[in-house]
């Protein structure tokens, strides 16, 4: 079996899973209006990390490791995230039985701009190099496995980690990931006209696009169970391609439907066992519509669904990880979080979007993800 051992989220709503979850339960939203020419000529809403706090938290860890090297903002976020998740376990980072998988879409892409205060070597922009930096910092003997598969990267990385443990290649796998809000991505999504002028409103009638966010997240999977807390296991997962369009999702939700079907098959569960769904829920008109069709096609229309994007925006390579972490915390606490930004259902296939945070015993959950390139992923996780 593959157990979820420990986790972390570094975001605008806090440093650590508990801090983030508490903020969300309190209804706090991390998406704020950003006015900074560094990112975009006009104001735009986004969820940004408190850089001062990041530097402070990072320095404490760097001192512990007696490390005086320079690190980029994203590297600091990932290091702080991994370090926190690790510190909650007895997992041996120096063991060859422990692997690290890194999920990111654009890594240190802010380094392409000529406006950076600090300069780094040119290859620092390459994603494998980011893996090397993380490996070296923690002194793990294995090359970091870097996955870059658009917005399903995080869910895919968790899926790969579980496969490594099931096939006994590793005992513990640290899945970490992160992405930044940069001029590169803000201007790109602006050109796609897919950014909402306000904080995003997943599944809402008036939804008008996504919000971007920066975050790092970590989940540690292991063949060993937790001794002191509720055990949650990875049951199964899958990815699938729409084979339809590189930016628009399939109108019938084909890839998403296939990924869920395969994940359920892999998990050896019945669809009616699923009692909560964490959707991708970007709040673009097409994504949410597509997901509702896919959920409906699986006859899961009455299962409570939420999207975390209304709190932290779309965090790209971190999204699948941090949304899984929130899902794990929902399961531990038996609390279902409302979909921040959602008011009135605005999709053609009615599904059960959570509009207020409430308590409910949940045992088996589905995590969905979709992204550019027609990619889709689904994970099933369950209490034991």
């Amino acid at each position: 079996m593959v157990y979820f051992r420990s986790d972390n989220i570094i975001s605008s709503l806090g440093f650590g899973t508990e801090e983030n979850f508490f903020s969300m339960v309190s209804g706090e939203v991390g998406i704020k209006t950003i006015v900074d020419q560094k990112y975009y000529p006009k104001a735009f809403p986004a969820s940004m990390i408190d850089e001062e706090r990041l530097n402070k938290e990072f320095q404490i860890i760097a001192d512990q490791y007696s490390n005086n090297n320079s690190y980029t903002k994203l590297e600091k976020m990932i290091i702080v995230s991994v370090n926190d998740a690790l510190s909650l376990t007895d997992i041996e980072i120096h063991s060859s039985r422990t692997a690290i998988i890194l999920s990111t879409t654009k890594g240190n892409i802010n380094l392409v701009s000529n406006e950076n205060e600090e300069t780094f070597e040119p290859e620092r922009i390459l994603l494998w190099k980011l893996g090397d930096i993380i490996q070296d910092f923690f002194g793990n003997p294995n090359k970091v496995i870097v996955v870059s598969n658009a917005c399903i990267s995080g869910a895919l990385a968790i899926n790969i980690a579980a496969m490594y443990i099931e096939s006994e290649q590793f005992d513990n796998v640290i899945v970490t990931g992160g992405d930044l809000v940069t001029r590169f991505v803000v201007s790109g999504f602006m050109s796609f006209m897919s950014l909402s002028p306000t904080a995003c409103k997943p599944f809402d009638k008036n939804r008008d696009g996504l919000s971007l966010g920066e975050a790092a997240g970590t989940v540690i999977l292991s063949k060993h169970k937790n001794m002191h807390r509720q055990n949650i296991i990875f049951k199964g997962g899958a990815t699938a391609n729409d084979a339809n369009h590189i930016s628009g999702p399939s109108r019938k939700g084909d890839g998403s439907y296939i990924a869920i079907k395969k994940a359920i098959f892999q998990s050896n569960i019945k669809p009616e066992q699923i009692d909560h769904i964490s959707s991708h829920g970007t709040a673009t008109p097409y994504n949410d519509e597509m997901e509702s069709i896919s959920i409906d096609r699986h006859h899961l229309e009455s299962v409570p669904v939420n999207s975390i994007k209304g709190y932290l925006g779309h965090t790209l390579g971190a999204a699948g990880i941090i949304e899984t972490v929130i899902l794990l915390e929902e399961m531990r606490q038996n609390i279902l979080l409302k979909t921040a930004g959602f008011e009135e259902l605005g999709i053609s296939h009615p599904i059960n979007i959570i509009n207020h945070t409430f308590n409910m015993e949940i045992n088996t959950c589905l995590k969905m993800a979709s992204g550019f390139g027609g990619s889709n992923a689904a994970l099933i996780i369950s209490k034991v």
Binding site: S148, I160, M163, F192, K262
Partner: protein, 207 residues
Amino acid sequence: MKELFINSYCHIKNNRIFVDGKLLYSDKVADSLSLFAKSGYRYIKPSYNKFFKMDEISKLGFLAAEVLLSGVNLTVYNEEDIAVILSNSHSTLVTDLNHQLTIDDYNNFFPSPSLFVYTLPNIMIGEISIRHKLRGENAFFIVENFKADIITNHINSLYLAHKANAFVGGWVNQSENDYEAFLYWVSNEGNILHNAFEINKLYNLIY
């Protein structure tokens, strides 16, 4: 379970296209991937207008897949069971730099959606999947140099878990001054065993 084999592979580098180690096409004039991709397209004649909308690295991956899969009867497989598992070292660096050029200067600020969409390495997987109707598993790995075992490992795991039974695997890379594609087809048929040793041998076949 039956073993996995490689029964077809394709290299594209230095303005040459090879299938199963044999030269299929070469262009002595083209001095860039952009020009070579165009001449390669004219030779292969896929009549697929969307090709010209792709960025250079997607064109490279598309052409390699076109050549690789031309000899494969895809209809015997379920489209949901065909996986595409690729890797490279530079992600989409060249396209990233092109997008950055459109946004460096606020006085000449025109980010292009059709360029930005290609700043993700798995868009190439999407293009190949659309062209050949492949709806199975996907993954894109970033490694410093070609590394057969990451892909082999992933393909074997998918196969053992019954998540897929046929695979396009390989490497498609574009750096600022070079490019290279090496794709192979993995299924129950063929005579080259599917393992990292054999794949490294095939990869190194063409200089």
